[in-house]
């Protein structure tokens, strides 16, 4: 067993984990944060996307021990303390960017990372920037619309996690 210390959604955690435990397992099973979904389990679909030190990663392709010392944000950590939706969540809501919702947590986390990284985003940039995330329902159009709406309204978007409240 290996001792792992991580910050998840602003709270600090310490656990002894088996080295082979995947980060997604740690988040879902040890911490009970089941908002992060497992879709393909083969690094392809992006449903398990979380932020690791602010950057999107596929938590099914990362060991929990590799995340030792990192700050992680999951979909549960995006909204403000008062429960207000993060601007990307709000935009997904407004633009009807989900149907079954299975891809949505990963899609939102990937979008948050993309918006924080890219100074300017057009439709092509959004489509390419979300190429690591698959959606079987929406046909992507409304997802792209939602992210573009956020790109047009930049200021609060880079702020995630505990700072989400500032965005509301």
């Amino acid at each position: 067993m290996v001792l792992v210390t991580v910050e998840v959604n602003g709270s600090s955690y310490q656990h002894e984990v088996e080295p082979r435990m995947l980060l997604v397992q740690y988040l879902r099973e040890t911490l009970g944060l089941t908002g992060t979904n497992i879709g393909c389990d083969t690094s392809s679909c992006g449903a398990c996307t979380v932020l690791l030190n602010g950057e999107s990663v596929k938590s099914c392709t990362l060991l929990a021990v590799q995340a030792d010392g990192a700050a992680i944000v999951t979909i549960e950590g995006l909204s403000g303390p008062d429960g207000a939706l993060h601007p990307v969540q709000e935009a997904f809501h407004q633009h009807h960017a989900l149907q079954c919702g299975y891809c949505t947590p990963g899609m939102v986390m990937a979008a948050v990372s993309l918006l924080a990284e890219e100074g300017e985003l057009d439709e092509r940039g959004v489509r390419e920037g979300l190429e690591g995330n698959l959606c079987r329902c929406t046909g992507y159009h409304n997802i792209v619309r939602a992210v573009l709406a956020c790109a047009g309204d930049r200021a609060p978007v880079g702020e995630v996690g505990a700072a989400g409240a500032a965005a509301s």
């Binding site: 397992q25 999107s56 392709t61 060991l63 990937a110 690591g132």
Partner: protein, 273 residues
Amino acid sequence: MIPAAFEYVRAESAEEAVALLVEHGDDAKLIAGGHSLLPLMKLRLATPTVLVDIGRVPGLSYIEERGDEIAIGALARHHDLETSAVLKEQVPLLAATAHQVGDPQVRHRGTLGGTLAHGDPASDLPAAVLALGGTLVAQGPNGRREISALEFFRGFLETALGADEVLVEIRVPKAAGAGWSFQKFNRRAQDWAIVGVAAVVNGTTGIALVNMGSTPLRATAVEEAVRSGASVTDAAAAASQGTDPPSDVNASSEYRRHLATVLVRRALEEASS
């Protein structure tokens, strides 16, 4: 899918990683970004019993100018390459190729050293380093040695690295102002190349092929044709000479040969325009 059990050790330096490889021998495997190794371990196609994590080794993620070359630490991630101002200016081929790898999540984790050491002929960056005529620096129990990219790829997932060596640095000649092109043909976003071509035209012409054999390959017949003044179309016709492309669900070997000719032509046109 959960990997088979293994012991996990984190190396704090390249020296320590080498010592751990020496200590654990064949049972040990290095892990950098883990984006080639972990998928294999989850499928239990790889079952190392000791995983030596070099992902945190400090000071191995640099991208810097050094004389006529750009030196890159083995832990520089694809994302570091695609966003590096110095690389975009001095070796745009490498920055642009990094941008074509996988998707943003993969590029946030995968490293240049990892993709080279993995030695997958379907990978993008090895072909770019090969076209540029790069130099790889390996550290082993007896210190460091340099390996030319031309000598590095030995067979399918096989490289010149010894079992007790760590790839620490990659150097490529500066090529600001040189013509270049990276052509990647795939059918879906995020996919691996069915065939790819990296080209740099800088007085001499370097062309390397993705997924046209058991290793990334230099298209030497095309390079010779260009040198002797052949037209782009005639030179590109030699693209599949000396290759042995695979047949798989995506493409037959015949189709890959055809693609290589088309993509080399496009690459030469783009690089010389």
